[in-house]
């Protein structure tokens, strides 16, 4: 069930009504049932893998926490008896046990993800290498179906297991509550990746009907649908046309395609997250924010703190930090400082860790070289801009006050958008080589007049472009206004009539201008032989 299907809207309405009719202590159970139903709609096969994740994570967390309690008790009981050395040795021994369970659980779950997601990618690469020597492909691809949302729920659940291992979260005692945490349907497909510590309380708690909360949630859901249906699902036609036929569409088209994709991805992803968070809010549940007007960022590092925030923090907390504090990296740091001096010594380990993290981020997005190269290029840009910091500082010192100038801010924003958009071309084109080639044509093959006409042959009419343009301007205005606090809060201070009209106007705009349903193609209705 896609968010944009009629079935989903009906499903959601039913769950929502039931949710506030039943006794509040059963609400979380209703959500769990809804999750199972939602997930089963995409096939029972996926439920099996999710089941494995839930059971293993639940068991691992429970055992780790039991071991921890046992250890604390034993230490307390032997407080007078054991020397510091004895205590340390005992603790080491217990920690090793905990570590075994922890690693076992990670291996099983990340293993499932890796096998399902990357087997064919690995086979393709092995074949590619084999073909260099033998001239033929030796291994056949396997037919694996990726269960819905596996990348997201695996990460979210592993975050929980790591938190329990670190003693940052309590192990959940009720396996059904644990299952609810893993499978919460609004966030299953595209995140946000929630922290157990943050989500669990609000997720399991009873929620009485509160008009304001539900109303705010509804407003956000509608805003999400607006972005997704009016902008993303419309402009996607042009994007697909451009990137699908690179032989025809080069130069100026590539540039348009790049910007269109920037709009599409933004509208689709932030819109989807708005729908997710809005739905949760209608249930009285608060999810973590995933975006903070990312296109307004001054630089790439800031952009990545404001775009897909929950994924960024996941990688930071569960990969970047542990890797930075890991023995090999520390040894590398010491070694480099001794042998190559302070400047290189402080850089090399960070470069290494950054590249590893971005490699992982890339391949998490998808099993292809496009995403790997995309991830690594992000790392390169971030490191480069970090290296250039002294240069910028000099520049800013030379032109004091320029940072405060509006024009300079706009320049920074445009720079961020263009930079991120050009990296994202890797999302679009078939392979890495083609992406670079098409990127190149933006600078060599620029025939504006012919191209402007051609934009109307991409499957969108002038009216479609006009709708997208108006919607994009609207989204921009809303984002600008948002900087001064919640728009919904401010709207709530107005009269009921104004609020109602705003919401209805939004609904009306979605119903009329949204690209949903079969769509009207006048040609379909042309009379033929019947």
């Amino acid at each position: 069930m896609l968010f944009t299907s009629f079935e989903f809207v009906a499903f959601l309405a039913c769950v929502l009504v039931l949710y506030y009719l039943i006794p509040v202590r059963f609400q979380w159970i209703l959500l769990l049932v809804a999750n199972v139903f939602f997930y089963a709609c995409s096939g029972l096969y996926g439920l099996l893998f999710m089941g494995v994740t839930i059971v293993t994570s639940y068991a691992a967390a429970r055992i780790m926490s039991a071991v921890q309690y046992h250890m604390d008790d034993t230490v307390k009981a032997h407080k007078e008896v054991w020397s510091k050395q004895e205590r340390k040795a005992y603790k080491q021994q217990i920690k090793r046990k905990k570590r075994m369970i922890f690693i076992g659980c990670l291996l099983v779950n990340l293993g499932i993800l890796a096998v399902l997601k990357y087997t064919n990618f690995a086979i393709a690469n092995v074949n590619g290498i084999a073909a260099l020597f033998t001239g033929r492909h030796s291994i056949a691809r396997v037919n694996l179906v990726l269960p819905l949302g596996i990348s997201f729920y695996t990460f979210q659940t592993m975050g929980y297991v790591i938190d329990v291992y670190r003693g940052k979260a309590e192990a959940e005692k009720n396996i059904f509550k644990m299952a609810l945490f893993t499978s919460f349907f609004p966030q299953l497909i595209q995140g946000p990746i929630s922290r157990f510590g943050e989500l669990s309380q609000t997720l399991y708690a009873p929620h009485r009907f509160d008009f304001r909360t539900v109303w705010f949630g509804l407003e956000r859901v509608l805003w999400g649908y607006f972005k997704k249906l009016v902008i993303a699902d419309r402009i996607v036609v042009a994007v697909n046309a451009i990137v699908g036929q690179p032989d025809i569409y080069s130069g100026f088209y590539v540039f348009c395609g790049m910007l269109f994709y920037a709009a599409e991805l933004y509208a689709d992803f932030t819109g989807g997250i708005d729908i997710t968070i809005g739905i949760a809010q209608m249930f009285g549940i608060q999810l973590a924010e995933n975006f903070e007007r990312p296109y307004f960022s001054k630089n790439i590092a800031e952009y990545w703190r404001r775009w897909h925030i929950t994924m960024g923090t996941w990688f930071k907390d569960y990969l970047f930090y542990p890797l930075s504090a890991s023995m090999p990296v520390l040894s590398m740091s010491t070694f480099c400082r001794r042998h190559f001096g302070a400047a290189a010594g402080r850089r090399i380990p960070v470069y290494f860790v950054t590249l590893v993290v971005w490699f992982a981020t890339g391949i998490w997005h998808g099993a292809s070289w496009n995403f790997i190269v995309w991830g690594l290029l992000n790392a390169v840009v971030i490191l480069l801009s970090q290296e250039c910091r002294p240069l910028y500082e000099k520049f800013h010192a030379h032109f004091p006050g320029i940072q405060k100038k509006y024009a300079y801010r706009i320049f920074q924003v445009v720079r961020t958008v263009l930079l991120m958009s050009s990296l994202r071309m890797l999302d679009c084109y078939r392979n890495v080589g083609l992406t670079f080639k098409m990127f190149g044509t933006m600078f060599t093959d620029w025939n504006m007049t012919a191209a402007m006409k051609g934009l109307l042959q991409l499957g969108l009419t002038a009216a479609d472009y006009a709708v997208v343009a108006v919607a994009v301007v609207l989204v921009l205005c809303v984002s600008l206004k948002q900087r001064r606090g919640s728009i919904r809060e401010r709207l709530y201070e107005r009269t009921a009539a104004v609020q109602y009209l705003v919401v209805f106007a939004l609904l009306f705009a979605i119903l009329i201008f949204g690209a949903y349903g079969i769509g009207y193609d006048a040609n379909q209705f042309i009379y033929n032989q019947f």
């Binding site: 009629f6 079935e7 009906a10 009419t461 009216a463 479609d464 009269t495 009921a496 009539a497 109602y500 009209l501 209805f504 009306f508 119903l511 009329i512 201008f513 949204g514 690209a515 949903y516 349903g517 079969i518 769509g519 009207y520 006048a522 379909q524 209705f525 042309i526 009379y527 032989q529 019947f530």
Partner: protein
């Protein structure tokens, strides 16, 4: 405090009514009107405006609504009839249309054109809309929708056609505003008049089929039609129009003949009586053999009317004051449109 709350509630209630109205207007505006183009889309809805006292009801696809002229049946024999035909009307749609029609009136005879037996599954979304959107809401309509939906369709879009036609906002014309709430009549008791002449130039090629047997679903609905007529004591007549495209296979003919014999139904394949009825395929079709033009339709109606009159024992209403003025008006309109061609 209480007062202001009541006031707020009142305002919101008014706004809600207004927004429902807005959606209703939007829907009325955005739905296709089928007035100047694709007129066959308007056929089904026109039935509700006509008097419901017909002796004969025709059901089927374009082979009925393009080839039979109720005006001729009236002029020649005083037969009152209505064609509930629509573009690519599938047999289950015919059945449900008949079911609905029989709620309004009980004719003496029902004529079903058998070409649609060749379709066993839902075919084309656009044609579904033309047959279904025009129907008033009833169990029959709901059942017909469920039987007709192609894979991508959803029931809700028939309940709220706005969900289907919302993207027409960029294709709106004057016609859409003009005919928002009232439409012109495009047909003559379901007959769509065509005045062009384009004769048959090539005979159709009968590409062999892998399987000639009609589908189970189609048979099922033919049975249902037969059964329904039997229950209501209505004479069911099967026909095949004399147009040579699309191809009507001999193997199909055999199956229908057998069925008619088995159920004791009269069956007329007018392909076999083209000459007898006086139809000249070089002048009497408007699209090279797919459909008859008005002159062809009149010839077929004259021929078929004679048969119907005796077969079903139909009375002559030409002296019947209850229906006379209606048919006379229709005749005038009909002759006027026909006259524009010459």
């Amino acid at each position: 405090m209480v007062r202001s709350k009541i006031k707020t509630l009142g305002i919101v209630a008014v706004l809600m009514v207004l927004s429902v109205l807005a959606l209703y207007f939007a829907q009325a505006l955005l739905m296709p009107k089928y007035m100047s183009n694709v007129k066959e889309g308007a056929l089904i809805a026109e039935y509700y405006k006509a008097p419901k006292n017909n002796d004969v009801i025709f059901i089927g696809d374009c082979e009925v609504y393009e080839n039979i002229s109720p005006v001729t049946l009236w002029q020649e024999y005083g037969i009152t009839s209505y064609i509930r035909g629509s573009a690519q009307q599938l047999i289950w749609q015919s059945y449900y249309l008949l079911e609905e029609t029989l709620r309004y009136e009980t004719p003496k005879a029902v004529v079903f054109n058998v070409l649609s037996m060749k379709y066993n599954e839902p075919q084309n979304e656009a044609y579904n809309r033309m047959t279904l959107d025009g129907m008033k809401w009833s169990d029959s309509k709901a059942a017909s929708i469920r039987a007709s939906m192609t894979e991508k369709e959803s029931f809700i879009s028939y309940v709220f056609p706005l969900l289907r036609f919302h993207s027409r906002w960029s294709a709106l014309t004057k016609e859409d505003f003009r005919y928002m709430f009232s439409k012109d009549m495009v047909s003559y008791n379901g007959y769509l008049l065509q005045t062009e002449r384009k004769g048959v130039t090539t005979q159709p090629r009968k590409t062999p089929l892998a399987d000639y047997s009609f589908g189970e679903n189609a048979w099922d609905y033919l049975d249902k039609i037969t059964q329904l007529c039997k229950e209501k004591n209505i004479r069911l007549v099967l026909m095949k129009a004399p147009t040579i495209y699309p191809v009507w296979y001999d193997e199909w003919e055999e199956q229908i003949k057998d069925y008619a014999a088995q159920k004791d139904l009269p069956y007329y394949n007018f392909l076999e009586s083209i000459q007898e009825s006086g139809i000249d395929l070089t002048t009497d079709t408007y699209d090279a053999g797919l459909h008859l033009n008005v002159w062809g339709a009149e010839k077929l109606s004259r021929y078929f009317g004679q048969i119907l009159r005796t077969e079903c024992d139909l009375p002559d209403h030409r002296q019947d004051s209850a229906v006379l003025s209606y048919w006379q008006e229709m005749e005038e309109r009909y002759e006027a449109e026909k006259g524009t061609a010459d």
